[in-house]
Amino acid sequence: MMVAGRILQMLLMIWLFVLLYAIVYLARKGRKIEMRSIAALDAIDEGVARAAEMGRTVHFTPGFAVGGLYHPVMGPGVVAGIGILKRVAESTAKRGTGIIVSLAQPESVPLVDEVLKVAYAAQGKSVPPDAVRFISTEQMMYASGVLSILREERPGVNILMGHFWSEAMQFSEGGAYIGALQISGTNAIGSAGTFVISSDYALIGEELFAAKAYIERKPDDLGAIQAQDFFRLTLVILVLFAWLLGNLGLKDIIGLLKI
């Protein structure tokens, strides 16, 4: 028996599944899927090249999640950030630029180690010593640790991709203080505005989750992104429909949206 008040939600979820599987299937069959250009992701190579020219390192951090990677909202943000690190590490390995990855989750250390190892091994190089720095699981300790790294190491580019709270402001302005190019992105609503204002390039909201697809351009990932777009369109139509019915006074029909 269905739970009252969740039937439409379930239908929408099923619709998202159907869209995702159908579009991924079509993408595998050769359907071409275009993605709009995302400046923040295109700027990664530019930033690493800039750091290489200046003889400086690249700093990357995937942010902070309360309770670690298992948090339902913050955890995926951090994991999505680590997905972008792959691209950054490939670029630094190719150019021989130093890289520093500062972390707040001890459980993400092996994952980040693996990302760097794979990226550097592909270029026949080994990961620079002290590249991965676990700082602290305490938010402000982590924040002060990253600020120390920014001030002491003076990286040429500061890449902040993941989940950030109030430390977003400190990191992006800490980077601005040392004249680093700032590339940032977060799924945290409170920090997105700060990043937009204080960074040279910024990703907003779900762009962070779409980054992996944008970078790797695999049909499965691109299909998933297009499915999200169609799903969003469905929600927009539903909202407009509800607005129209509300204005026409047809409240009984609107009640169907609450089933």
Partner: protein
């Protein structure tokens, strides 16, 4: 570790877990509810184990730096020593009752935590000055919103300039809420699609596999 254990088994587990939890949320069924309860209990146990693994990871990571005499290795060594003292004394005679543990918490950890927060607070003030400068169109909008928020939350400003309050309240209740909801909806869609991609085995990073 074989590919089956490293790649396929975790995804099979993730697939079944997500499916059961989804189904339990939408369908009222005793068997599903029991299954979801077992999964949630397992999740709590696994999360606790993972916290322990996280500690081991941190110690190994820092230990390697001490072994290789990396930069600041004496501080890394100090971190391990302090960690061992706190963990050992934390378990002696019950959880967190040993006098050494309590002394370390009350006289070392808490003051240092507060000191760090205070130092970072100075950074905040400097940062706020920089962020709220009008360097761009977006910066100007942010400053306007910050000012509106200040008016709304400071009784003295509202008292001196009551005419501004209806506009500020409207700004708070209409465009802010609309923008926040839009952001929340698109991020939620992104998260839902992320969960489905985990189910499909597209997000290998979640289980530590890097392609």
């Amino acid at each position: 570790m074989s590919s089956l254990l490293r790649r396929e088994v975790p995804f099979a587990v993730a697939f079944v877990t997500i499916l059961v939890l989804f189904a339990d949320y939408y369908i009222k069924d005793a068997t599903l509810a029991a299954g979801a309860k077992i999964i949630q209990e397992w999740a709590i146990i696994i999360t606790s184990v993972m916290v322990g693994i996280g500690v081991i990871n941190a110690v190994m990571h820092v230990g390697n730096r001490v072994k290789g005499k990396g930069r600041y290795w004496p501080l890394d060594l100090w971190m391990i020593i302090v960690m061992v003292i706190v963990v050992v004394t934390g378990f002696i005679g019950g959880f967190g009752v040993h006098p050494v543990f309590r002394w370390a918490m009350q006289n070392v950890y808490v003051p240092m935590d507060l000191a760090t927060d205070t130092l970072v607070a100075f950074d905040f003030i400097a940062v706020l000055y920089r962020v709220f400068r009008i360097r761009s169109r977006e910066g100007a909008i942010l400053l306007l919103c910050a000012f509106a928020s200040l008016i709304r939350n400071s009784p003295i400003i509202g008292g001196l300039w009551p005419q501004a309050l209806p506009f500020v309240s409207w700004m708070w209740n209409v465009p802010t809420v609309a923008g926040t909801r839009a952001f929340q909806i698109v991020t939620a869609i992104g998260l839902m699609a992320f969960a489905i991609r985990v189910m499909r085995g597209q997000e290998r990073g979640t289980i530590g596999v890097v392609d």
